[in-house]
Structure formats: C-alpha cells, structure tokens
Symmetry: C2
C-alpha cells in the first residue's frame, strides 16, 4: 500500500509532514509506504535531519507549486497543475497510490479531489466529516460546513457515507445514525429536518436512532450526526469556543483562589490532532484533510486513518452501499 502525503500543506511544511510521516512509518506497521509530494530539495533536507527515517519505504514525488490560502479553490487544478495537491491526487487517480493526505487549504483539497477523483455514483455532494468529542466515543458530524442548503436526500447520502466510514475505519458495526434537530419527536424542526427524518427512518440499511437535540450531542447519543452544513459548522465552531471559554473561566477562578489546576485529560479529549484529520467522503478515493496548524502527531494519525480506510476497502464498500440503497431511487 502506498499513501501520498502532500508535504507542502501545513504552516510548517515540510518539517511537520516529514516528521509525521516518519513517525507513522515507524509506529503503524510495515505494510505501507509513503510518497511525499512537494519540493524535493526541501523534503530531502528534512529527511536528512532524521536518522530514524525508513528510507526504503519513503518516496518523493516532485511538485513545483504550492497552493496558497488565497488561491481560488475552484480553479486550483487548472491554475496550479504542478501543485502538491494536484500531483498527489493524480497519483491517486492513476492508481500509483491508494490514498491522499493534505493539510493544505480545505477548499482547494476538496475541489481538487472532486475534480480529479470524481464523485461516487449516488453521491451528489461529497462531505468533509469532522469528529465531535463526547462523553462516549466521538461522533462523526456530516456535514460540518462543506455543504449548505442541503436537501433531505443529501442528508440521507451523508448517513450512508458516515455509516460505511464508521464501520470500516472505526470498526463500529452498526453505527447509530442521528439527525440533528430541535426536539425528539418525528414532527419536530424545520421542514427539511422533518422530511429527512422520514427518509432516514424508512431506510432499512441504516440504524437510525432518531432526532438528536443539541443537548444530547456531547452525551454521545449517536455515532454519526447528520446535519446540514450550516448548522453543523455553527455547532463545530461553537463547541471549540465554548470549551475553551469554560476552561478559561475555571482557570481564572482557581487562580484567584491560589490554585493551579491542570486539564490534561480534558485538553486531550478536545485535541483534534488525536482524531487523524477529516475524511472527505463521497469521492472515488481516500482523501484525508488536516488542519494547516497540525503538529506531526496529527499527520501521523491521518496516515493511520488513511491506512485503515484502504485496508478495509472503504471506497468499494461505499460504492456498493450507494449502489444498493441510493441509486435505485434515483434511477
């Protein structure tokens, strides 16, 4: 197995990517290799700084351009065909690698993935999934901001994408699918939510557990939380900020009492780098998107997730599930 890693994506590229790749190769098993995509001179210089790099499992693919935050996502493949994002994704499409990881600008990675890998049949809107920490296992939020103004049928497609991801990558056999709503009863919420409820409840291929209110999210009431990307994105950003706000208040109060409190376990729970990046679900390939500020650990964990997605045959499973569940209704 080969995993392509955009070496030019993080704010500290390629230092972070090279270190993350080496950690992944040394810690996650011997059954895969990594193709670092980017400036060969910079990558080579970084590799030379590590004496534990398993060089026989590391390849470098030259890409002379780098995608920046102000590059328009929609035109990045055409305008920067030799960027690390475009080069890495073409390797994936051609079968030279089995997965692609990037910490470059999310919009550009998404748009390039759609353009180069294409959507799976039955998926109208691929979606970037994000994990929400809960009192139990983390919930996969779909959609977390990629798609606004979704139709109910898009939410049902998200549910199937999330189902396969949780089963194949996280090993949760029958993941509980919840619909973000403002009440528990089926008739609650906006029109879209009511219609989505009916579609999800009627779908025998889903373990639909019903509406999930805002207050139930952190209790871990479902494994996949389906929502329009507008409310999903508000929720996601709000979560991070409320958590930090509360921790800040607690810390101030304790300091005023002369106490110094540590929040190690809480901060670890809230640390996105533990979760290994956000998968772009619904394209014909494995794309994992990392924060631009990712530390090496986050890159390592993204490799872990990508490897598991490949080993489990996630893309083939998604294609097959969509073929059986979604396509018959759109034919």
């Amino acid at each position: 197995m080969r995993i392509a890693l955009d070496a030019m994506g993080t704010d500290a590229a390629p230092t972070t990517e090279v270190e993350g790749a080496i950690r992944a190769l040394n810690e996650l098993g011997e059954d895969f290799e990594i193709v670092l995509v980017g400036d060969p001179d910079l990558i080579g210089a970084e590799l030379a700084r590590h004496d534990d790099a398993p060089l026989g499992r590391i390849h470098v693919e030259a890409a002379r351009e780098r995608v920046l935050h102000d590059d328009a996502p929609a035109t990045v493949v055409r305008r920067k065909p030799d960027s690390s994002i475009a080069v890495g994704l073409r390797l994936h499409r051609e079968g030279a690698v089995d997965a692609f990881i990037s910490a470059g600008p999310t919009g550009a990675v998404m748009a390039a993935s759609l353009f180069i890998l294409r959507r799976l049949p039955g998926v109208e809107r691929p979606s970037v999934g994000t994990f929400l920490p809960t009192a139990s296992t983390p919930s996969l939020l779909l959609d977390a901001g990629t798609n606004v103004d979704c139709k109910p049928r898009h939410l049902r497609q998200f549910a199937h994408l999330g189902r396969v991801y949780m089963a194949d990558v996280l090993g949760i056999d029958e993941p509980r699918i919840g619909l973000l709503n403002i009440g528990e009863e089926p008739g609650k919420g906006e029109e879209r939510a009511q219609e989505a409820y009916r579609m999800l409840a009627a779908d025998e291929g889903l373990n639909f557990v019903g509406n999930i209110e805002g207050r139930q999210v952190v209790a871990g009431a479902c494994d996949v939380l389906v929502a329009d990307g507008f409310v999903g994105n508000v929720l996601l950003k709000f979560y991070e900020s409320v958590a930090q706000f509360i921790l800040g208040l607690v810390q101030r109060e304790q300091r005023e009492r002369g106490l110094d409190v540590a929040f190690d376990s809480v901060l670890r729970l809230l640390d996105y780098s533990e979760y290994g990046g956000a998968p772009l679900l619904g394209v014909n390939g494995v794309t994992i998107i990392c924060h631009g500020g990712s530390p090496p650990k986050a890159i390592r964990n993204a490799v872990r997730v990508a490897r598991q997605a490949v080993l489990s045959g996630m893309v083939a499973d998604m294609a097959s599930e969509l073929h059986d569940s979604i396509l018959p209704e759109t034919a």
Copy 2:
C-alpha cells in the same frame, strides 16, 4: 404599575411564585404592585407563611384552571379560558395590568399571548429571546427555537425587536446586531443568511456588525444574535450541555488528583435564573416566560425585567420602530 404573575406555572407552584413575588416587591422598589393569578386558596395559604409580604401591594386574581404540559398550545385559550395564563393575559389586554409573567408551558404562554395580546404591526413572527452568557455582557439570541423556516425578512424583524429590547430594558444604546453565519464575509453561508445579510446591512436603523461565526459567540461579539430558530435552538441547548460536560470533565480530573475544585463564578455565569426569564417580543404587551423549574430568584428577576420593560415604554418603542422601518416596505 401592576404586573400580573401566573402563580400556577412552576413545578413548585404557587410556593415559588409567591416567594419570588415577595422578594421582588421588597427588593426592587415601591413603584409597582403584583397580581398573583391562580387558585386563591393555595395562594392565600402561601402568603400566610411569609411575615414579610407587603400585602398592600399584592393582589390575587382567581383562576380556577391550570395549563398542563400536554395541553395543546394552540387551543389552550379556548379549552381552558379560566386558566391562570388566559386570565392573566386578559387582565393585560384590558389594561388592568402592564405586564404578564408565567413559568407555565412555553408553547401555551406564547400561543395565548399571540391570541390575546395580538402581534404588533410589522411583526409576522413574535420571538422568544434567550440570553447566551459570554465573556462580555450576555447576547440576546433571537430566535431561540420559536420560529423555524424563517425568511430573511423575519430575521430583520427579530433584529429590530432585539434592538429595542436591549436599548430599553438593558440600557445598551446602540446594541450591536450580529447575524449567525459560518464565515465573516458577506457572501458566506446558506442562501437565507446571504439575503438576510444584505437586508440587515442596508437597514440604517440597525448597528449591524456583520456575520458572527460560532466561535465568536462566546467572545461577546454582538449584543443581539439573529438566527433562524432551528440553528438558534441547537446552539442554545448545545451551549448548556457543552458547558456542563466540560465542567464535569474538569471536576473528574481534579478529583483523580485529590483536588476539590469549585466553580462558583462559572456556574453563576451559566445560571439562567440570573437573567430573569425570556421575553416574548413582538406582541402588543409585555410577556416574560420563565423555566418551569425556576427558583424564586428567577421569578424575582423576571419581575425586574418586566418592570423595566414597562418603565421604558418598550412596547410603544417597538411599535414606533416597526412603523418607521418595517411597515413602509410592506405597504
């Protein structure tokens, strides 16, 4: 000034209401009286238990029925015309009192207020406002779940209702109006948010500060946060649960270290009973809605808010502002 207080609303009615009323009368000034609406025998027995009740400023209005949680809100005025909610609101419409407070079922208080008090001209959807604690002063969230599937023009009406409320009741002269969205730029978000942005930005009567992302809410980036009630309600319920979740995690971690931490100031900030209930804005009167689980302090604070709304002429100010800003466009 007379304020009607539904004495049969809280889970511990009328004990809580009577105690809250007495505290309000003794603590908030001499310029108002309270009309307790409900079962006269129960209210009389409660009053007899207090030796500090200023009986000359307390009146009792008999209401023989009580609205329960499973009463359908839409028909409660017709089916229970002698309920404390219907009786209290009729007193308000007839001018016998200047405001109405209830901790009864929110839907019933809302529906009865709309039916009996009627909407102000220019308001299509009255809205229950709720306060979100922030690092600065609390933000008034409109809508917090009353109205889903709002149109952009409804959001603009919420903005004006919130503006007058914050100016008159909280004394914030030019409250900052923010639009809940998933990015800061004008073109961000769902279609409704984009159109609402244009309407709010074009409205010279509003101090519109632009889009507010989920992460900016707790920073206190605006005084009035305008949103559709679907995302508003998700946000509100999520806030309470995330805060409790984080505090629980912190507490567990400290206990494992043998530390006992207190969160007094944090809990006070998050304590809804400090905020004095949720105003129903857009009806031709002052209706304040309290939680069913309110303690006496919350009732006392609701009286404080109702009194301030009456003193400031809030309803007349709202009518006048809507007449000048909203009505010309709908004529």
